[in-house]
């Protein structure tokens, strides 16, 4: 990634000097010193905090995030493939701090929406005028029989990266596996974080096995009959990995009904037991615990929001963005978290000024790496509609199919550019 350390260091110093008096708690709260609290410092939260700070310098912005370094899910699959190291996908919060954002490395434990207060695990209580909530997802341990927290040490999910240990565990298991082994994937029904993610992961694991353990097999057991960019992925698997990847849809008994970590088995709906050398369970998910525990989630396990302002239908001063909200048909992606966060901040500021939320357009691209010089993409552009989110007709879509090596080569390069650009937009 490219950085301009000299200039940014100088800038940080300048901002640090002048920003601290503004960041101190104000006694009287005129509109000019409104307090914006952001929970979660990932794709939605970091984007919200930085956008708020740079676009509305009059706001006091506080960010609550337990991790001192954020490991991205995006590009974690390339770590599994062996072409990225953990440091390449780890980001510090120094840029946000230098921009004048107050950062508290702590967990939000409870939200009192009526009193507009958030209690932190460390004991502190924070008051806010507007809250942006982007805490991501929780794994629904127990929803897939046999898959609990202990099972995740045998069959890693690597779907909520935390400090990166889950992704690193899966990588170590792949490295330790003998040539000729079977790597199993259990893939959940919709909706889940990053619809193309499991299939990019299959691709990157195949790339590693092809190079280092070419007699190995991949068994992808899916609870669905169709998936994102399916034709493109399957074309790529065939072209690059021959018959190494076997994808089994739900209609051919692909749905995993139970896992047995002691026997290292995935058992399907109709009772077939697949013995694996390495198993990756991408488990059923819900909005993060803080959303459920604060009564902000619907029966589905996801938060319902206004499609223009992202104000929670349960509490209007809380704007919920990113994977935690039901944004269908938008995907649960980092790019959508980034976009929706900015719209939520702009809407929160508008509400403080007594104005309506601004016009909105939500933009998504998910690039996927299928092989080392082989990238594909999906684009979706959405707008708020009467009852939710609506995709703009005749726009977006997936990369063209066919034997197009130059398109694939260029998209792999543009994917790297996307990663560099979006992480700069989030973390400065």
């Amino acid at each position: 990634m490219t950085h301009a350390p000299t200039r940014r260091a100088a800038l940080g110093a300048t901002l640090g000097l002048i920003a601290s008096p503004l960041a101190a708690p104000a006694l009287s709260r005129a509109q000019g010193q409104a307090r914006l609290l952001v929970i979660g410092g990932g794709f939605g939260g970091a984007s919200a905090a930085r956008f708020a700070r740079t676009s509305y310098p009059e706001l006091q912005v506080t960010l609550v995030e337990p991790l001192t370094r954020f490991v991205t899910c995006p590009y974690g699959n390339l770590l599994l493939g062996g072409t990225r190291q953990i440091g390449d996908i780890t980001h510090a919060y120094d840029g946000l701090r230098a921009a004048g954002i107050r950062i508290l490395h702590d967990w939000a434990e409870g939200i009192d929406a009526g009193a507009k207060r958030v209690r932190l695990r460390g004991g502190e209580t924070l008051s806010y005028d507007k809250l942006i909530l982007s805490p991501g997802i929780a794994i629904r341990f127990g929803a897939l029989p046999g898959y609990d927290e202990a099972a995740a040490e045998v069959f890693p999910h690597a779907w909520v990266p935390g400090d990166g240990s889950q992704t690193l565990l899966l990588r170590r298991q792949l490295e330790a596996m003998p040539d000729g082994g079977v790597v199993g994937f259990s893939i959940p029904p919709n909706p889940f974080r990053c619809p193309p993610g499991p299939y990019e992961r299959i691709s990157m694991v195949a790339a590693y096995l092809r190079r280092h353990k070419p007699r190995s097999k991949i068994l992808a057991l899916d609870a669905k009959d169709a998936f994102s960019k399916q034709g493109l992925f399957q074309d790529g698997w065939k072209a690059l990995y021959g018959d190494m990847v076997e994808w089994v849809p739900a209609s051919r008994d692909g749905k995993v009904a139970r896992v047995d970590p002691a026997a290292k088995v995935f058992e399907t709906e109709f009772g077939e037991r697949h013995r694996l050398d390495v198993g990756n369970v991408i488990p059923p998910q819900s909005a993060a615990r803080i959303v459920l525990g604060s009564g902000l989630a619907a029966q589905t396990g996801w938060a319902e929001v206004d499609p223009r302002s992202f104000a929670s239908k349960a509490a209007p001063d809380i704007h919920i963005v990113g994977d935690a909200m039901n944004g269908a048909p938008m995907p649960k992606s980092g790019y959508i978290a980034n976009n929706t966060a900015k719209q939520a901040v702009a809407s929160a500021v508008a509400a403080l000024r007594g104005e309506a939320p601004p016009e909105a357009v939500y933009f998504n691209t998910c690039y996927s790496h299928v092989g080392e010089d082989y990238g594909i993409s999906i684009v979706g552009i959405f707008r708020p509609g009467a009852g939710g989110f609506v995709e703009v007709p005749n726009s977006g879509g997936v990369s063209p199919r066919g034997d197009l090596p130059e398109q694939r080569r260029l998209e792999a390069i543009h994917a790297d550019t996307w990663y560099a650009s979006i992480t700069r937009d989030m973390f400065g």
């Binding site: 490219t2 301009a4 200039r7 940014r8 800038l11 300048t14 901002l15 002048i18 920003a19 008096p21 503004l22 509109q31 000019g32 956008f51 700070r53 740079t54 676009s55 509305y56 310098p57 009059e58 921009a99 004048g100 790019y335 980034n338 976009n339 900015k342 719209q343 702009a346 601004p358 016009e359 909105a360 357009v361 939500y362 933009f363 691209t365 993409s377 684009v379 552009i381 703009v392 005749n394 726009s395 977006g396 879509g397 990369s399 398109q407 260029l410 998209e411 390069i413 543009h414 790297d416 550019t417 996307w418 560099a420 650009s421 979006i422 700069r424 937009d425 400065g428």
Partner: protein, 100 residues
């Protein structure tokens, strides 16, 4: 924006630099925010993502229209350009053109 406070004004002036080389007159319109995930901070360009900042609005508009009509080839911009209205494109182009 309320800039009665001298510190606020100083902070705003500096924060516009924070985007990394491209200095804008104000926050990007939300439609232009979608471009920043590939074209660098404030459209300054990054890696294979072309610079948009500081280019003539008329040029940017005509490129976007050409992508939309498939008169210009790209790996992805054709699919992107079709998601935006004429008004969006005018606002986006004006925003990037005004960056110095």
């Amino acid at each position: 924006m309320h800039l009665s406070h001298p510190l606020g004004a100083a902070l705003l002036a500096t924060s516009l630099f924070a985007a990394g080389g491209a200095v804008a007159a104000g926050p990007a319109p939300l439609a232009a925010q979608g471009c920043l995930g590939c074209h660098g901070p404030n459209g300054a360009g990054i890696g294979s993502g072309a610079r948009l900042a500081g280019r003539e609005a008329a040029e940017l508009e005509s490129i976007m229209r050409a992508y939309r009509a498939d008169q210009r080839q790209g790996t992805i911009m054709n699919r992107i350009a079709r998601g935006y209205t004429e008004q969006d494109i005018a606002a986006i182009a004006a925003y990037f053109a005004a960056i110095r």
